[in-house]
């Protein structure tokens, strides 16, 4: 049972949402950031054993109150999560510690296969419900690879761009499932390739997972991930 309150009205839900955010008034009792992330090291890293990309630049959450995830229609998500709403230069890779609109970019390695955005926000004493996250990473590909698909799962909706081109969208009330949505076939060019994503959530436990699958559906691991 996701919520034990009985009324599903917008008003009730909005009040509940406020109440949960009020819970964050006691930071330190929640799991620290180090439970889920470590600072990205200077040296490039590689995908994990299953090919999941675990090094990301994460922007602190943007408050975007939504009382229910059923509002995340394709139209809504495509309007709210766009290069035009990206905080900063959509064509540039942000730096660790860079601030934009009062929010800071964090270069982090997830300790898990997925990226726990909820815990990222919670540990920083930021809003964790009704939020919008941006994530950026850079992969270095040893040689060009054709027929590759970007495979992503997210809680809740999200959009993903590969080298500036939109390649995947996850819409509606959605929980994270590995390999939930796959892109059309892509070409990973030799050298740097930039991945950008935006994830939006209302009352959910925000996270995402992303990896590349080769033409045979097998995870690609021979990548260097370096967000500099």
């Amino acid at each position: 049972m996701i919520t034990k309150w009985t009324a599903a009205s917008i008003v009730t839900t909005a009040l509940a949402l406020w109440a949960v955010n009020a819970d964050a008034r006691e930071p330190g009792q929640y799991p620290p950031l180090s439970d889920y992330f470590s600072a990205a090291t200077a040296a490039p890293t590689t995908p994990d054993a299953d090919g999941f990309i675990t090094r990301w630049l994460l922007l602190e959450p943007i408050s975007k109150p939504n009382p229910t995830n059923t509002v995340f229609t394709r139209s809504y998500v495509r309007e709210e999560l766009t290069p035009a709403t990206y905080p900063g230069d959509f064509t540039a890779v942000p730096r660790d510690g860079q601030r934009v609109n009062g929010l800071r970019w964090h270069a982090l390695d997830s300790r898990l296969w997925d990226v726990k955005l909820f815990n990222f926000a919670q540990a920083l004493d930021k809003p964790k419900y009704g939020v919008l996250f941006w994530a950026v990473t850079v992969i270095d590909v040893p040689e060009e690879m054709d027929g590759v698909r970007l495979a992503v799962g997210s809680n809740s909706a999200s959009r993903w761009w590969f080298n500036g081109e939109e390649v995947a969208g996850l819409y509606d009330d959605r929980r994270m499932v590995m390999d939930d949505v796959l892109s059309d076939r892509l070409t990973l060019k030799a050298g740097r390739n930039v991945i950008r994503g935006a994830i939006i959530n209302g009352p959910g436990l925000s996270d995402f997972c992303l990896r590349f699958l080769d033409a045979d559906g097998q995870p690609i691991r021979n990548l260097a991930i370096d967000i500099k």
Partner: protein, 485 residues
């Protein structure tokens, strides 16, 4: 209004249609008071079946069809589960948690009673204590407990969308945690879990999606399996449930939206059903209701079946493939076979009309006519109209049905000498009512209401002969398929 809803959908003959005068909507599966959220596994006690829901209270029923309020569960809280071990009924439930304004600090508690019947002298709950908790800060929410008692060991899964699903082991003698037992995480992104065991596999079922938003609730029930109760649980594609995997078991259908909170009902004789709640019954104000549906097994995976839908079918025996038919003279379709064989390639092509009821009915005997089985020939005496009769009651999620020769007032009946005949339709005659229960392989058992207590069912006792004899789950003889003409 209800009558019109069904009549608008069904191409029924006048006689059959008149029997629907008091029919409930097709999707309103159960009768009586069925309003509940998070129903516990149906449990039999003192001649009745019980299920408990969130915030105390619950429902009970004698037949699994007509339910009434009045079950009593102390402790308040949310989403209980029940299991009988020895002479004790254990009840586990959660207090606190659930997210949003309730936060995520919660305790899973245990209590027991020797009867679930509030009128029994053995009805007395004894609280045992807390067996699992979440502290409100971790990525976990200790609610929605679910039991599995297998090979003498008692397991309890619990948790919600908020983080992980966990499993612990309890002492079946006391209901307390086994000393030294630590929770094991077995899934994410689900809630309202349930556990089953079958053929060496442990099955973890859980509900994906979001509840509590009426017809916009996205609840759906999914499953993974493992050789060990503590996992790893994988779905049919090998996706770990710890990574969001899960094969669909049940989702919204017809006028029922948001399937959640699975509970196994094993009725024996290869009939398994499951209880669940739909977040919204669109025929009942969009409120959350109890439902009971058939459970099928396909290649080692559970999947929701469905009650036979109103309509006209051939009723095919799984024993021989022959179809049920009124014993009447075979009537030839006018056709010049010699001319057909001699036709040249340029001769015109014409449509041969199907044989219809008026073509043959005048030659059928009046009064009761016995039935037999024969190869399907697309003939009027082989087409049967299935009409739900919920006003007459039902059994575990399925109403009683009337079975009539299409377009006629000839109803299939269980005779005094325990045989089968088509007789003049009579809405007041219980011998014309049938239970049709889907078996775990997807075929159906057809049971006369009149002799249900004797365990009799329609069985092909010969290639061409049906009768009412005890159902044998080990044989195809009592299994039937409803196939569209």
């Amino acid at each position: 209004m209800l009558k019109h809803t069904l009549l608008a959908r069904l191409p029924l003959a006048p006689v059959a249609a008149s029997l629907l005068a008091f029919a409930a909507p097709a999707s309103a599966q159960l009768a009586g008071d069925v309003f509940i959220h998070d129903p516990s596994t149906l449990t039999y006690s003192d001649g009745r079946w019980y299920t408990f829901g969130t915030r105390g209270g619950g429902l009970s029923s004698e037949d699994g069809w007509t339910w009434e309020d009045g079950a009593v569960r102390p402790g308040g809280g949310v989403a209980p589960d029940t299991i009988k071990i020895g002479d004790r009924y254990y009840v586990s439930w959660a207090v606190g948690g659930g997210g949003m304004s309730g936060g995520h600090a919660s305790d899973v508690k245990m209590m027991w009673t020797k009867s679930l019947d509030p009128n029994s002298p053995d009805f007395a709950f004894h609280e045992i204590g807390t067996v699992a908790s979440s502290d409100g800060y971790e990525n976990h929410d200790a609610i929605d407990p679910a039991f599995l008692y297998q090979d003498g060991r008692l397991w309890l899964s619990y948790g919600t969308y908020f983080g992980s699903i966990r499993i612990i082991e309890l002492d079946p003698a006391t209901g307390l945690r086994v000393a030294g037992n630590e929770p094991v995480e077995i899934a994410i992104d689900m809630e309202a879990t349930a556990l089953m065991y079958r053929d060496g596999w442990y099955y973890l079922l859980g509900t994906h999606g979001t509840c509590c938003d009426g017809p916009n609730s996205t609840y759906n029930i999914r499953v993974g399996r493992s050789r060990s109760p503590t996992g790893p649980y994988l779905d049919n594609m090998g996706q770990p449930l710890l990574r969001g995997g899960g094969k669909l078991v049940a989702a919204s259908h017809d006028r029922m939206i948001g399937a959640g909170h699975f509970g196994l009902i094993d009725l024996g004789d290869d009939i398994q059903k499951f209880s669940l709640h739909y977040e919204a019954d669109m025929e009942r104000s969009g409120r959350s209701v109890l439902a009971i549906e058939p459970l099928l097994w396909r290649d080692g995976w559970p999947v929701a079946g469905e009650n036979v839908r109103p309509g006209t079918y051939q009723i095919q025996s799984q024993r021989s493939g022959n179809t049920l038919q009124l014993q009447t003279d075979f009537v030839r379709i006018p056709f010049d076979a010699r001319r057909s064989f001699m036709a040249g390639p340029d001769d015109p092509i014409v449509t041969v009309p199907a044989q219809t009821l008026p073509d043959v009915e005048a030659g059928w005997p009046d009064g009761p006519v016995r039935v037999d089985l024969s190869a399907y020939m697309v003939r009027p005496n082989q087409h049967w109209t299935i009409t739900p009769a919920p006003e007459a009651g039902g059994w575990f999620g399925a109403p009683f049905y009337r079975i009539t020769v299409e377009g006629t007032g000839r109803a299939l009946a269980a005779t005094d000498d325990r045989e089968i005949a088509a007789v003049p339709a009579d809405a007041s005659d219980d011998s014309q009512l049938w239970r049709i229960d889907q078996l775990i392989d997807g075929t159906y058992r057809i049971t006369p209401k009149r002799y249900a207590d004797e365990g009799l069912a329609m069985v092909a006792i010969g290639t061409s002969t049906p009768s009412l004899v005890p159902f044998d789950a080990g044989s195809d003889a009592g299994r039937w398929q409803f196939k569209l003409p």
